[in-house]
């Protein structure tokens, strides 16, 4: 099918000429996704770690809830964030609707459960192996958490990548809370939705190729890091 080759050529052309509109959209996409990822990790990793090492009443139910929340539909999240950030909603006074910040909030809600649920699994395994040694050594809880996260760093990298993948590829939430406003809140996915709605299918697919190539580059880098870690038995 020539649509593939045409779109691929168009994608290459856009990247090769560093098309300024594309660069702006790309920059915002990556910025929004990385910031929401950073915030999600700073919330999600400690929660995942606590769930992994602490036994308390309702802990299993919480883990179940976070596992279920991994499948949160983006449009639902978008709608909820819209209702809260709308001028008529409880946080309307912040004036955040239709800003990149609103998109960060929506993506955080989408990916924090992923970070929590997956890191909890990784750290649970880590805890199983290290528990007796750390007990014997009387390692304080906080130092143990840090050690788990440090030692699980390569497995956690996969967790973080899963979060990034979800954030950067999601459209349903950011189009509602961001509004797909040109030069303000337009990101790769909403641009693809827009071009599709204009019937510019070739350009839409070209943008899709660009998005895909970013994901590929990030994942190859991670794969390479992980492979080198594996050679040192750090995974």
């Amino acid at each position: 099918m020539s649509i593939y080759s045409d779109s691929f050529a168009a994608a290459f052309g856009l990247l090769a000429t560093a098309d300024s509109d594309l660069m702006e959209i790309l920059y915002l996409s990556i910025n929004v996704s990385l910031l929401s990822l950073a915030l999600s990790c700073s919330i999600g990793l400690p929660i995942g770690a606590i769930l992994a090492i602490r036994q308390f009443h309702g802990r299993d139910a919480l883990v179940g809830i976070f596992n279920a929340l991994m499948g949160l539909p983006p449009v639902v999240v978008g709608l909820l964030v819209y209702l809260h950030l709308s001028r008529s909603g409880p946080f309307g006074w912040l004036g955040l609707l239709y800003t990149p910040q609103a998109m960060v909030i929506a993506q955080m809600i989408l990916i924090t459960p992923i970070i929590i649920a997956l890191s909890c699994q990784v750290l649970e395994d880590m805890h199983e192996g290290y528990k007796d040694f750390f007990d014997s050594l009387v390692v304080p809880k906080l130092a143990a958490l840090v050690a788990y996260i440090v030692d699980a760093r390569y497995s956690l990298m996969t967790v973080v990548l899963a979060g990034f993948g979800r954030a950067v590829s999601e459209v349903g939430a950011v189009i509602i809370v961001g509004g797909n406003i040109d030069h303000l809140t337009r990101v790769m996915t909403t641009a693809i939705a827009l071009e599709t709605s204009k019937g510019e299918l070739e350009l839409a697919l070209a943008l899709g190729f660009v998005l895909l190539s970013i994901s590929l580059a990030v994942n190859f880098l991670a794969q390479w890091l992980k492979a080198s870690a594996k050679r040192r038995a750090y995974v």
Binding site: D135, S136, L137, V138, D151, A233, Y234
Partner: protein, 244 residues
């Protein structure tokens, strides 16, 4: 160094065990053990499989809470402060996903004794100095166990617990480990060792606790234990027969 000097050094002795009992899944695994472990040197805990040796060791170290009875160190009940003055080497050591040196430093930092020179010396002591920057999880079984011992020794424990530390290891590693145990024992560290290796117990132990079916069959000086054990179970065990 005389015994009196050693006793003065070791503030966690004697270890008094009073009617210690533990049941797991409704099965009694430690059955009213009472004993007193005093004097420096190396105490071996022996007994057939399933006698409760490892669990008893974990109870002493405080990793497992007994159902009843108690352990006291120089008259004091177990506490975190006391456990911080003890080390334990497990049969299958947990190796951190870091270099050999970083493994050692992690432990040292927990006690605020991370001195690069001491760490290097400690590695040299266990013939691991050439592997300092090596990823620790790539070590052989013997090297891993030597690293585990190095980690246990870097904090200069008053009591060192070892759970079958040399089973299935290469002879040179066994020799290095035993030499180090004898050395630290002479320097005042009390060593309590679970072992199946009769030769090792004969080489190292000053006294022997013999456990069978969760209870203490006898506690005697090593020389008399190996020459003429009190209990029938120990006799059978030493003769190399199955203890049923």
């Amino acid at each position: 160094m005389s015994d009196i000097a050693n006793l003065a050094l070791n503030c966690l002795l004697p270890i008094t065990v009073d009617s210690l009992s533990l049941a797991l899944n409704d099965r009694v695994v430690i059955d009213r053990i009472t004993c007193q472990i005093k004097g420096n040197g190396i105490t071996a805990i022996m007994g057939p499989n399933g006698a409760g040796k490892s669990l008893f060791l974990r109870c002493l170290h405080g990793l497992v809470k007994p159902d009843s009875g108690q352990v006291r160190f120089a008259g004091k009940p177990p506490s975190q402060a006391i456990r911080q003055r003890q080390s334990m080497v497990f049969q299958a050591p947990t190796i951190l996903r870091r270099t050999v040196l970083a493994n050692l430093l992690f432990v040292a930092r927990q006690r605020g004794v991370s001195n690069p020179q001491t760490s290097r010396d400690c590695l040299a002591q266990l013939r691991l100095d050439h592997l300092a920057e090596h990823p620790a999880r790539l070590l052989s079984g013997g090297e891993k166990q030597r690293l585990a011992l190095a980690r246990a020794l870097i904090i200069k424990p008053a009591i060192l617990f070892l759970d079958e530390p040399t089973s299935n290891l290469d002879p040179t590693s066994v020799e290095t480990i035993e030499t180090n145990l004898q050395m630290v024992s002479r320097q005042g560290t009390k060593i309590i060792l679970v072992t199946h290796d009769l030769g090792q117990a004969k080489r190292l132990a000053g006294d022997v606790l013999f456990l069978n079916h969760g209870s203490l069959s006898e506690h005697n000086p090593a020389t008399s234990f190996f020459k003429n054990p009190d209990s029938k179970a120990a006799k059978t065990y030493l003769a190399g027969n199955l203890v049923l």
